[in-house]
Symmetry: C2
């Protein structure tokens, strides 16, 4: 693609930048209104328990308490299923996750909520609610949960059996997926090397800085307004409507600024609770989570148990691959097992495949999306096995990956053939990067062993629905109204596409994120879709403006619209290039005489081709403590077309850092009672800038052929390769193959010790 | 028009009703935000004075004071003219009206403003600002202001003269308009009765319940957000942009709910001041007016001096009419003299006309629009003269008016011919109304003399630009986004037109008033235009939705769009009426599969035909005090098509009541220093419900042929006839012709006394 752009590919200052750095931007917790009540949630102290009775008498008697709610205040959702932004869910599960209905499935699950005139009273009142529990044994490990005799979470989850109802047994396995391609046995028979390894990865959290929050006002006319930080205002609207059994149009969701989401702010937790507290009290209610609740009671990404078996022939061609993936759903069915299955082998064009995937309930919080959900666990397994094969075959690991890389026409594990993708180009760019052939980066201690690893990753990205409207102002600017909440600078990346199409500057576009009443339906900010789909909607809105401007100018010039075209920032005569009216002139003119111009864009585009990423990482390992230091980190990624390179680099860097945290430190540590032992940022150790080198982000541009500007989506795939790349680097440094995440100091120490004195 | 409607003409509950009656609706003064400063204005104590020096040193030193501004903080507007929603104005005047520049032209004019951490400190600091004035003589009466030797307000206002610059003399006359039609001398020669009378009317205020307010945040990136109660958010944006010399797109105006405007909330007063206080302090600033400031320093409607001469032949045909109108502009040029000239004779088809109109500066606040601005003063004069002619000719006053009434093709004084209008129908309806032939209504005291009067009135109504967008929701409803601030129930009257066009219910439309970033440009709420023009935009948006729905259904049914049509709430096959998909089904379907539907409507329609109103009023007069009681009041009005009859009746009743207040009590009382003596609701006596009978509103429907649903605009004309009708009723009761407004007890007493002992 040799097309040149005026705006796309430049790096204008983000439109919301000043508000963010000066503290003016309003986040959910900043919400305030006269008469606001403060809500607090009472949570289950037990990981698995029947709720026999809830007595709120004493709590209600506290002066200043205005309402207390339990699941009895939510409509009975029955057995209905609904797709509300994260795939099909049982409404009963979604409802019970907001306020437990008869049973608590994890420690921290919401049981009741209090609204009071201040937060202190609400907290005190929570303590006075008497809940009678009947304790049940719990299971917090995916493997144990699948074993016979494991504590069963849901009585209505039964094994699927052909033998009739009598043969069905309670189970924690909510779903079994299977994908087959070719003939695996034949494939393995053709292999000269076969490696099979088993992996366990811990539950990790998105770790967004801003805790969940929701404010609600249930008005006397039965309409409901919700203010919250969410990835999808329309998704919140749909979920709350389903849970409270009211039409979507009676709900308005006002998206506040969002302090990070990464997939974890799609499902509702507090919104329906704030709503019914407001309904019961007749006043606006704000509910905030503390950090411990965020860890214990929102949606982390699943711990997993994965077995991968890969065979390759002498030439380095993969002949067969087999995977068994069991993902912890947490309390309710719904792990990203499908995505894990789709992604685990998708970097490679493999003729013979067999994949089994299991979605397994355990007594942990219900898992949620987290940046390429399910793909990182899978890539950790596959990429370290690939590394071992390359070692065995004495092949360069990037050469091997290039040889086997998926390309246009390759089939994805779940069936569809890839369109034009940038997997090969990304691997090539990594191989050509100076880092790949440079000496190992210098470490903290020259005595520490060092090593280099590489790994690749795939994520499919999505399309879905987006709406924008674009109001042309008299001063030659455009007010752009979007439904996509802005997490990563998308106000600007969307505005730039409108600007490019109209031939105006990025600064001449004034983007805003509107509430659910003020803009057309727009799906969730997730799946790396906003710059792709909402950007596309902005292009459509710009074209709508172009058409209207041509019509207005045709009227002014007494010409036919067909005699005119929109070109480089204005309307020109097709026959006389000197006859021209700029965008700014038309904008001013229409405000005086010729009527107002508003563009609209609505899209529901096909999914893009998917994104590929490759990491090169240098590490050193402190052999005494097992601590791994990242010395140099290069993240290469196909971005389709990078609209705003700085924000693309930011996404690559952010995703890489989260992958590094997942690789080295982050994990939910549970005791045998199913209680998380490290529910704070002090004990749940995320990497800080002091732990990391600058991440070198390398943008590869293989434009997506579907999108008007070749956008492919960039937000998620950078988290996929880091765990595998770091594991491979650790192996190069200290000669141990890590099969567990995180590769924290104790685990690395233990592995080194096992290498030095292998078990007899 | 025999067309039947499903929604139009019904009386659904207004969408914002619950918010208004429960106190949830947020008005300007309700605005609050963290760190908000409170602004107060220091105002001139003198009606006319040079400002020699302003010393803010002491005020700035008060702890808690964060900024002080004077006109030095506003850009110098130079000599630029601008049309910013109320006709062309000198920017210097608009700027000086916000903060006096070198001279104060009226008592109460803003001179400086303080922002402080609370209102008390701001008030105290205002008192510490030392302003050195040089007092000038003042003139507050339009007749005196036009006399030679009168104090001159503006040195650059000079008489227009053909004799060259040397002959030009300073004047207070800002404008002289003249309209001529036919041959007046010939017309009067043909008359058998000629009546000539002179009238004086007082300055009156719109008396909206909510005082002016403005909050502003000047952000670090140079963008400005303003929250205020205004009739036109885009108008505020344009005015502030012009005054602060910044592009409109750097300003966002968020319209809060508005507690009445009636024309008085179009011009900015506090908005630019709040803005520069925020710029200087770096913090958000809220500025509120108290009631005295509202009276003294906003824009009332002009006092006037009017002479009318009308001649009629024996048959009762008006043969000629002459008018001289001098309207007080207040401190700066810009009275509604043009409208007074256009309206004074427009109820009647008169072949020979001569009208002179004068716009005259006096040392009072700059006048502003007030419900059919300028027309009530004029109608008071014309309608009482007509009454006198009818008396002389012994003709029924409604018969006389019907005989002379303007109709389609009649020429308005300023030139244009009327399209289809409802003047005759309105007069006929009044004549046929039971009130007209009923015995006089019973009074408070059977001994008081009673009388009945009638009068007619005309107002032209306007068109201008409106935008809406309409987002189709999955539940078969539409979120309607409007740019028109809602003063009189227009959320509902606009929503009903969308609903009618789509064949859905009014309740299925959820209207909202958006800020200036979120919706296309929309002109001011005024000129009775919103239900007309914004309603028309809603019809266009609905048609846009219809087109898209046809396209979507065509795709679903694999048919051509031409084979389908939108009919009675859904898309149907033109050939097979049973093949049908309802609006609700299409809405649900598009959210699942077929993409999102958003309709947009932008209009800039021609002005409608104009509105006519007739009043019948019974009064009694307390002969001892001169107090006039309204016993029965019937207001008949052509409404084109009444979209929501209740709100049309509300407009008729509200306008009538304001007219009654103007007729009987309201006036600015000035002392000889130019100080208003009654700047409070206690002393400025507006009628309350206890003063009034229920106003009987009679809707006549002569649909406007331009508008898709025949809307004509209803908000203003009801204020036009009351003063004349009441004057005529007083004459019937006590035999005195009132030539002054208000016809307050002292004036009526004086007139009765003069009748009883006429001057020798």
């Amino acid at each position: 693609m040799t097309q040149t752009y005026q705006v796309i590919g430049t790096r204008p200052i983000r439109h919301d930048g000043v508000d963010k750095v000066t503290g003016r931007a309003l986040y959910g917790a900043d919400f305030n209104v006269t008469g606001l009540l403060h809500g607090r949630i009472l949570r289950s102290p037990h990981a698995h328990a029947k709720i026999k009775k809830i007595d709120v008498t004493k709590a209600l008697a506290v002066p200043g308490v205005e309402a207390i709610v339990t699941s009895a205040d939510l409509p009975d959702p029955g057995d209905r299923m609904a797709d509300l932004g994260e795939g099909a869910v049982k409404l009963r599960d979604l409802s019970g996750n907001c306020l437990a209905r008869g049973k608590a499935f994890y420690k921290g699950q919401a049981v009741a909520a209090v609204a009071a005139i201040n937060a202190h009273i609400a907290e005190e009142a929570c303590k006075l609610i008497v809940v009678e529990y009947e304790l049940l044994p719990c299971v917090t490990d995916v493997v144990k949960a699948m074993q016979p005799g494991a504590p069963i979470l849901h009585d209505d989850l039964v094994t699927e059996s052909m033998a009739g109802p009598a043969e069905k047994k309670p189970t924690n396995i909510a779903k079994h997926l299977q994908y087959k391609l070719g003939d695996v046995a034949k494939g393995f028979a053709e292999a000269s090397v076969v490696i099979e390894r088993t992996f366990n990865t811990a539950t990790v959290h998105q770790g967004y800085i801003e805790p969940h929050n929701a404010s609600a006002l249930w008005n006397a006319d039965g309409t409901l307004t919700i203010w919250c930080s969410t990835q999808g205002s329309f998704t919140v609207r749909a979920q709350v409507a389903a849970l409270l059994q009211m039409p979507v149009s009676r709900i308005k969701v006002v998206p506040m600024e969002i302090g990070g989401g990464f997939g974890g702010k799609i499902r509702v937790y507090l919104e329906p609770v704030a709503a019914i507290l407001s309904k019961k009290s007749g006043k606006p209610v704000k509910v905030l989570m503390d950090r411990a609740s965020v860890f214990e009671a929102t949606g982390p990404t699943p711990g997993s148990h994965i077995r991968v078996k890969v065979g390759a022939d002498k030439s380095g061609k993969i002949t067969a691959a087999e995977a068994y993936l069991a993902y912890e759903a947490g309390a309710f069915p719904g792990s990203p097992i499908w995505a894990g299955c789709v992604c685990i082998f998708s970097c490679y064009d493999i003729a013979n495949l067999h994949i089994d995937g299991y979605d397994v309930c355990v007594n942990k919080p219900a898992t949620s999306a987290y940046r390429a959900p399910g793909a990182t666990n899978a890539a950790m397994a596959m990429e370290t096995v690939i590394d071992e094969i390359c070692e065995k075959l004495k092949l360069d690991p990037l050469e091997f990956r290039i040889k086997n890389a998926s390309k246009e026409g390759s089939r994805r594990a779940d069936g569809p053939a890839f369109p034009r993708i940038g997997g090969v180009e990304t691997l090539q760019a990594a191989k050509n990067h100076p880092h790949y052939t440079a000496p190992l980066a210098q470490g903290v201690n020259a005595a520490y062993p060092r090593g280099r690893g590489v790994a690749a990753g795939f994520w499919f990205n999505i399309g879905l629905k987006s709406s924008v409207s674009a109001n042309v102002n008299a001063d030659g600017t455009v007010s752009l109204v979007e439904g996509s909440t802005d997490i990563g600078g998308t106000r600007t990346s969307v505005a730039m596409q409108l600007a490019e199409t109209l031939g105006i500057t990025a600064e001449a576009v004034k983007p805003m994120v509107a509430d659910t009443d003020a803009v057309g339906y727009t799906d969730v900010t997730g799946g790396s879709r906003v710059t792709y789909a909402t950007g596309w909607a902005a292009v459509e809105a710009a074209k709508d403006i172009q058409r209207q401007m041509i019509d207005k100018v045709a009227t002014l010039w007494k010409m036919k619209p067909e005699e005119l075209e929109y070109k480089t920032g204005g309307v020109v005569s097709r026959t006389d290039a000197a006859k021209r009216m700029t965008f700014q002139e038309i904008a001013a003119e229409t405000h005086k005489h010729a009527g107002i111009i508003v563009g609209r864009g609505q899209v529901d585009p096909p999914w893009p081709g998917g994104a590929f990423a490759v990491n090169i990482v240098d590490v050193e390992v402190d052999p005494d403590t097992g601590k791994v230091n990242i010395l140099r980190f290069t993240a290469v990624q196909d971005c389709g077309k990078a609209i705003h390179p700085s924000y693309v680099e930011g996404q690559i860097q952010g995703g890489s850092v989260q992958g590094i945290g997942w690789a080295l430190n982050e994990e939910y540590v549970y005791n045998d009672k199913g209680v998380m032992a490290n529910a704070s940022f002090l004990d749940y150790r995320m990497p800080t800038s002091l732990d990391l080198p600058m991440i070198d982000a390398v943008i590869v541009e293989v434009p997506d052929p579907l999108h008007p500007y070749g956008v492919r989506g960039v937000g998620e795939v950078p988290i996929v390769p880091p765990c595998g790349a770091i594991a491979n680097a650790i192996y190069q440094a200290v000669g141990v193959r890590m099969h567990e995440l995180p590769m924290s100091p104790p685990r690395v120490c233990k592995a080194i010790a096992a290498r030095e004195s292998p078990p007899k």
